[in-house]
Symmetry: C3
Subunit: 249 residues, 3 copies
């Protein structure tokens, strides 16, 4: 197996952070077309499906194979460089370790046996009938508001209003953020949608996204959500999925 | 009882912070002329007497009545907006909850039974014979210095010098900040004044005051102090009182 | 014994911080030529030899004698001023306390009996055959990298390459920062040099140094290092020494 790649620090960092929001260890599937990552959290609630396209790299060569990595360790090494720096990743065929070069630093990272990493999930096909596009900062603001009174957050949209709501009901207080056409970059709502989510999971998922990044949220009724966005001018595409909580009320 | 008010975020926030420095819960007395708050800390050492004049509001309508609020909870909600944003507060007559609108967010805050909140203190009439006016940053600096060697701080002024001293005596070290005419915006000292205060209480009281806010300190001899300042171009006036410690030396 | 000195806040602060990186209490030897400090940490691993030349003071008068000081306490007082402020230090002959004046603040600092302070070390004469000059930020960067995988850091240089390496070997990973001619301001390497150091000690030593300060590192083979730099345009000179760890491999 050969693997040699050069990529801008910010692109790699953001892709790894998006993955690290879900899992601590993951498999990097290196194909001739780029790197593909799919992972699910230990509780089977949150998922990430991410690909770094060949076009996102300055230089890329791989003939296929899987690298098991500790994401936090890899992110610490990548963090030694600045946004614009180039990171070089190369698999050492003999030692089966990953050689990383960044801003004059040479780091040899031990890999993890991919078989010891939680199996990759199947991405389910979902019947979601709302698609809402807005900046990540809008979601961030709604989650902060929900956190004022609850551990859960309700996402809802209805076709009549074409507005989107991020809301929460606490024991005594409740809160509602209406995301209207001022903030919605696009909205397609083909039926009433309303689902409840764990605030912790959704907050972890949202945190690594740059506040002005356009995100596309697909929503159903008591269904998982899909949250999609891309990084590095489309070179990296990320799809997050989060399973709903059952409203106990 | 009706209550409906619209006010700039910074004005409400600063007024609530000044109150929260003394107590966690308080009664908002809503009169046709504005909101009035009087509160004393559980140990009966520190007091706040604050009014938000009708003129400080963009819009104000109240026919009298008392709202019991958890200050930290209310401040968290207000904190969802920026300084210049408008906050709308409206009492829901049916649910007896406070509806808060801020920057697209709707929050319903449960109120506290005013009878369960510590009774409002009487503001004592005091014979204080020094009045010193300076910027809050001067007091802040003196308190930081006192904290280097003690848990208490001595405030003193004498008519001859017309200077003001913030001083502390520790077990081995001592410190003295002389606030002279360079920093005193005005000084009227009609007798020797010297009182000792708990550093913790005075620091809590000073913390919410903007560093360039003009404060007027009235001081006596082994007497409480009165610290007065206004916010929002006079729309909010705050008077703090703090009881002295007995110097055990 | 008389001692009276006026010095810029930043100069005194930086000199005290360099000392405080090694010890909590120290003796200030006040001579007519300036203040001299020598100290060794409790484990006898790290040393500092520092002098504040008379020229670094705005005003200086001393007839010789030793002041024992708690460095953290003195630094807290000095920290009440800004970089450009003048600090006045004067020994009160009667109370044997140090009177400190800074930005309107008068602080009386109790001194420590010099006999109760750990004895000053002898500075050993060492046969070190490499001298490398670079900015402190380079060392800082290498130590941060070493910390990614180990508790120790290896410093090495060889005469052929005239490059300098900051490296670390962890249980599974290893890292190497090559400091080449781009970053080396000067390099004299008269033989292979390689020594291993405790990362904690070297990081403490490096932390107080301004990132663009030129440091001169003298290195041997399984020998202590000497790290030299000056502050306040040469008015303060600092020499740090650190004993090597024995490589257990």
């Amino acid at each position: 197996m050969t693997f040699h790649a050069i990529i801008e620090q910010a692109t790699l960092r953001d892709a790894l952070n998006a993955t690290n929001a879900i899992v601590e260890e993951c498999k990097l599937n290196t194909t001739p077309d780029g790197i593909q990552i799919t992972a699910v959290d230990p509780a089977n609630v949150a998922m990430v499906d991410l690909s770094i396209n060949e076009s996102a790299f300055e230089s890329y060569a791989a003939d296929g194979g899987t690298l098991g990595v500790n994401l936090e360790r890899l992110l610490d090494v990548v963090g030694m460089g600045d946004s614009g720096d180039l990171v070089q990743l190369e698999l050492d065929q003999e030692t089966r370790k990953l050689d990383i070069e960044i801003s004059g630093l040479s780091y040899t990272l031990a890999l993890i046996d991919p078989d010891s990493i939680r199996q990759e999930p199947d991405i389910p096909d979902l019947d979601l009938y709302a698609t809402l596009v807005f900046e990540a900062s809008t979601l961030s603001r709604g989650l902060t508001a929900a956190d004022l009174c609850s551990d859960h957050v309700q996402l809802s949209a209805d076709p009549a209003a074409e507005a989107f709501h991020i809301a929460a009901e606490g024991d005594t207080d409740d809160v509602d953020l209406e995301v209207d056409s001022d903030e919605l970059l696009s909205a397609q709502v083909n039926g009433d949608c309303e689902s409840l989510f764990s605030l912790d999971y959704l907050t972890d998922m949202e945190r690594p996204i740059g506040s002005d990044t356009e995100v596309s949220l697909r929503l159903g009724s008591e269904m998982p959500i899909k949250l999609r966005y891309s990084l590095a001018e489309g070179g990296v595409s990320v799809t997050n999925m989060l399973a709903p909580r059952i409203d106990s009320e």
